[in-house]
């Protein structure tokens, strides 16, 4: 067992873990964060994507011991308990999900992408959106709804931040 300290969704906690335990399992079992889904455990499906130091990472390919001292965010930190982030709203309105198993991974992969597009003030082509989400597999939607949701979220967020900028 190895002693580590993790900061997960803003809360610091020390815990003892076996080195072989995946970050995904530790987040689910020790922190009760069941939004961290495990699909393939080999880096192909993207369901387990979380942010480590702000960067999307596959928590099924990361050992918790590697994260000693790191700051981690899971889907539970996005949009509050009602999931009201603009990207989450857009997933609902554009049929970006059906069963929802892959959705937390998509949200964690795409939130930084949407932010970057808004910062750069540009609407990406569908091909660029598809490339950005090429590490995530969805078996329900056929992807069109997810691409539409990303476009809508970027548009909505640009409108919102554009308004703020003008106000400022």
């Amino acid at each position: 067992m190895q002693e580590i300290e993790l900061e997960v969704n803003g809360v610091r906690r020390r815990l003892s873990v076996e080195p072989r335990r995946l970050l995904a399992d530790v987040l689910r079992q020790e922190f009760g964060l069941s939004g961290v889904h495990i699909g393939c455990a080999q880096g192909a499906c993207g369901c387990c994507t979380v942010h480590i130091e702000g960067v999307p990472r596959l928590s099924c390919l990361t050992f918790a011991v590697q994260c000693d001292g790191a700051s981690i965010r899971t889907v539970e930190s996005i949009g509050g308990v009602r999931a009201e982030h603009l990207l989450q709203e857009a997933f609902r309105s554009e049929h970006g999900l059906q069963c929802g198993y892959c959705t937390p991974g998509y949200i964690m992969t795409l939130v930084p992408f949407v932010s970057r597009m808004v910062e750069e003030a540009r609407m990406p082509e569908d091909e660029e959106i598809r490339e950005a989400m090429s590490g995530n597999i969805c078996r329900c939607t056929g992807y069109h709804g997810i691409v539409a949701a990303v476009r809508k979220a970027i548009g909505d967020q640009m409108a919102a931040s554009g308004g703020a900028n003008h106000a400022g």
Partner: protein, 291 residues
């Protein structure tokens, strides 16, 4: 599944890492990005008793020294796309990076890991062979320089010995009059390659003076397409007969057959991708000449 138990060691310096790897021998593995090793551990295809985490080591460098581009073992794939020297001098390398995994993997996976793991479908082993790179390996006993042509021995098999790790890959800077391209076919974008081909040509006065072509997906390690290389020598850039070169290569191979693609399909892909990569390289050579 989950990995079998192991001990985790965080290397404080390169010497510390090498001492640990020497102590553990076959039982120890360096852990870089973990994008290939950890899936293998989750599937229990790899069962190291000790992992030596090398992520803190100063091996995250890209530098040009004389005629050589040195890439440190811990450089993450996404960084090549931002390096001017790779975009300008190593077009085939730049092409290939876009086929490595997907963005999340590219932000974490390392060149040292890809080279040492030697997945049969991986891009970077082929890129290393394409440019005639040298793999720099270190162990507690010192340094070994291994030509990429001699490094990849089969699926997941390399010339690395127990206790050794890749610390850098050295790519000779291609000469001024050269151009390259890398092409790949996979079942899905971001999935493992079915077949990929890289081509690098040198030229003079509008004609090809030399070619180097490397393919994955034919054997269990990248192979040189020597008949195609020979067929291109002396051909004009504007009519290089790339199709004939692709056919010359494909006629002499007996590709592997698996659940992804039959031997026959791989043969036709090898011919087609060789042709496309050579054509693209020639096109780039002609464009460079017009500037």
């Amino acid at each position: 599944m989950r990995p079998t138990p192991f001990e985790y060691h965080r290397a404080e310096s390169l010497d510390h890492a090498l001492a640990l790897l020497a102590e553990f021998g076959e039982e120890g593995r360096p852990l870089g990005g973990g994008q290939s090793l950890v899936p293998m551990m989750n599937l229990r295809l790899a069962r190291p008793a000790h992992l030596v985490d090398i992520n803190g080591l100063p091996l995250d460098f890209i530098e040009v020294e004389g005629d050589v581009l040195r890439v440190g073992a811990l450089v993450r794939h996404e960084r090549y796309l931002k390096e001017k020297v790779i975009g300008e001098r190593f077009a085939a390398f730049h092409d290939a990076v876009q086929w490595i995994g997907h963005p999340t993997i590219r932000s974490r996976g390392t060149i040292g890991g890809s080279i040492a793991h030697a997945d049969p479908s991986a891009e970077l082993p082929a890129v290393a062979m394409l440019y005639g790179a040298t793999i720099i390996a270190r162990s507690a006993n010192g340094e070994r320089r291994i030509a990429a042509d001699d490094f990849f021995l089969g699926a997941y098999m390399t010339a690395l010995e127990a206790g050794e790790m890749v610390v850098a890959v050295e790519f000779p800077l291609p000469p001024a009059h050269s151009a390259g391209a890398f092409m790949e076919i996979s079942e899905r974008r971001s999935d493992f390659a079915t077949v990929s081909v890289g081509a690098q040509i040198t030229f003079s006065g509008g004609s090809i003076t030399g070619a180097r072509i490397v393919a994955t997906g034919v054997e269990l390690q990248p192979i040189r397409a020597i008949p195609a290389e020979e067929a291109l020598s002396g051909k004009p850039l504007s009519a290089c007969e790339a199709r004939a070169a692709g056919r010359a290569f494909a006629e002499g191979i007996d590709p592997i057959s698996d659940n992804v693609a039959s031997s026959e399909y791989r043969r036709s892909l090898a011919a087609e991708l060789t042709s496309r990569a050579v054509e693209k390289a020639c096109q780039r050579a002609l464009e460079a000449g017009q500037e």
